[in-house]
Symmetry: C2
Subunit: 251 residues, 2 copies
Amino acid sequence: MPRWKLTLEYDGGPFVGWQRQETGPSIQAALEDAVAALTGRPGSVYGAGRTDSGVHALHQVAHTDIERDFSAQQIRDALNYHLKPNPIAVLAAEPVAPDFHARFSATGRAYLYRILNRRARPTLDLGRVWHNHHRLDGDAMHEAAQLLVGRHDFTSFRSIQCQSDSALKTLDRLDVRRAGDEIHIDVAARSFLHNQVRILVGTLELVGRGKWRKRDVEAALQACDRAAAGPTAPPEGLYLAAVTYDPQENG
Amino acid sequence: MPRWKLTLEYDGGPFVGWQRQETGPSIQAALEDAVAALTGRPGSVYGAGRTDSGVHALHQVAHTDIERDFSAQQIRDALNYHLKPNPIAVLAAEPVAPDFHARFSATGRAYLYRILNRRARPTLDLGRVWHNHHRLDGDAMHEAAQLLVGRHDFTSFRSIQCQSDSALKTLDRLDVRRAGDEIHIDVAARSFLHNQVRILVGTLELVGRGKWRKRDVEAALQACDRAAAGPTAPPEGLYLAAVTYDPQENG
C-alpha cells in the first residue's frame, strides 16, 4: 500500500491540538476524515510533531497509507477539497518508502515563536502572536539564550506532564532577533520535550523585560525543576516551521 | 483645540470600509465612537485614504481634534481601550499643527498587494491574501508593470464610480516580486483613483498567467476605457502600507 508524505500548514486556533482527542476537533482527526472521504475506508495519519491546542504549523509533516492509485497532485488536491472548511492545507504530497515514518524518521524540528512587542493589541495578527506590551530587549534575550544551546538536562523546561523518558536534549539553535515591533525566536533541535519551546520563550521574556539576568537563566537550567524556570508562553505565538529528514528518507 | 495625528493598523474584513456609512460598521465610525467615549462629546476623524470594504491597513493616518489635555501615550492607550473589540489599533498618536490634514497634507501613499500563489487554500492568512492558484510569472508581471509607471491617464484603471475630476496620475513605483509562494506588488503614488491598485493588480495577473502580454497592457492604458483593463482584484489582498507627509507637516 503506497505511503505518502504530506506537508501541512494550519491555523491551530480552532483545534484541541494535533492529536485526536475526545474533547474537541483535532488536526489529526480532520486529516483522517479527509483520507477516509477520499478512499472510502478509515485511514490513520501520523504527524512529526504533536502540536498543542492553539499552536500553528507553517510546515508540519505527516504520513498516511492510501491504497488507490492517485498522483501526488490528486492526493494533495483531493485532501484539500475534503478538508474544507478546516484551516488546514496540504501543501504537498510525495510518495515515500514504506518504512518512512513522519515522527520516527525525522532528524530535526524547527519552531518559530512570534511576540508582538508593542502597546496596541494585534489586529491583522490576532491569534497569530503573543501580544506582550513590556519593552523587550531582544539582544539580552539572545545572549541569555546562548547558555541553553547544546546538550543539557532540560527538566526545568518541560511540562510536568511530559512523558519523555529523558530530559536530556540537544538544542541546536535558539536565536532571538527583533523584526520591527516583533521579537522572533527561532529554535531547532532533533526533538523537543513537551512545552519546551514555550517555557524557553517564557523564560527569555523575563530576561527581555529586565526581571532576570543571564545568571538566573543558568540557575534555572541547573535546578532541574520546572518551578525554577519562567512561565509557559501562550500557544498562539508558536509555529512548527520545519521538519527535516535524511535525504534518503525524503521520498 | 489640539490636533492629533493617529497612525492606525486594521483588519478591514469586518468593515464596510474606512468611510462612515449607513450600511454597516466602518473604521471611521469606530474611531469617532472611541474619540467620543474618551472626550464625552462627538468628534470627527479624517483619514488619509478611504480604504474600501475588506481592504486592510498596516499604516493608515488619520487626524482628530481632542480638546482635553492628554499626553500622546494617553491618547493612544485610551483610544485603543475604547476601540475594543474592533480589530483597529492606534499605533501612535502625535500632536500636529492645527492646519495638518491627514488627507490633504499627504504627499504620498503606498500600498502592498499580496497574492497567495499556490494550489492549497490559505489557512493562517485566510482573508489576508488573494488566493490565486494559476502559476504566475512574477518577472513578466514586473516587466509589464513598468509600462504603467509615470504620468498617465488612468481612465482604464479606475472604477466607473470614481469621482475624481481627472484620471491623470503619476505612479511612482509598481514593483512585482515573488516571495516564496506569494507574489507581492508594491505601489506608490501621491494619490490614487478609486480601485486603481486593484485594477492594476487584476490586469497584471493576466500577464502573470500568460493570457496577456506587455502590448496588451499598453493597449489597455491607451484605450482610456475601464472595459479595456483587467478585472478588479479582490480587496482582501490589499494593504494601505504607508502615508507620507512633508517633514514640516509631520507633527
